[in-house]
Amino acid sequence: MIKLLYFARLREALGISEEDYAHDTALTVASLVQVLTARGGVWHEEFGGKKTIRAAINQVLVKSDAVIADGDEVAFFPPVTGG
């Protein structure tokens, strides 16, 4: 089981800020993005590649080949715009 978090535009578009996600096989960020895209509709819209998305595992920015372990907190969000 991993925890998924969504922030900012992504959270609003998906209408969800977090969910628990159960998975059996080894998972990378890229393969998780594929799974989420396959949900269709707004999920395909946001994760399908048209929009830039950043990912963090356990609160550290990662690239798409990063491996997700059981118990991880995985967050997706648009490029940051603070400051």
Binding site: A8, T81, G82
Partner: protein
Amino acid sequence: MIVRIQTEDFDAGAEIRQLRLSRADVGAVVSFIGQVRDLNDGTSVSALTLEHYPGMTEKALEDILTNAKQRWNIFDGLIIHRVGTLAPQDQIVLVTIIGAHRGEAFSACEYVMDYLKTEAPFWKKEQTSDGERWVDARVSDTQARSRWEN
């Protein structure tokens, strides 16, 4: 090293003063304040809402300050960043760097801002005369950060 994320406003003068008086060997104090502009990309802005990723944001800002201290000969640094809903002219962020000499303090302060802008998980949503809109990340911010990658 101080990192604070808060909804309430801050007293920049008092924060800068406290940091600059924290050591007797401080010669240079460089500060950046970011404030809400009434206009962005040509559209009038009536309010700005800042969202963040609690936990990760603090960690990201601490990492940025730690890296700045490793990279430059400075004594200490402070970041205060607000979240929640702000009005034009409200303060968003304060970064203060203290050191012996100005060159390194200037570079460190600009480095912290460039990384904060591109790596710290904050997101801005503007209330404008045309409705709400999420602020897009600027290519110029990524370019500014890339200066330091050598």
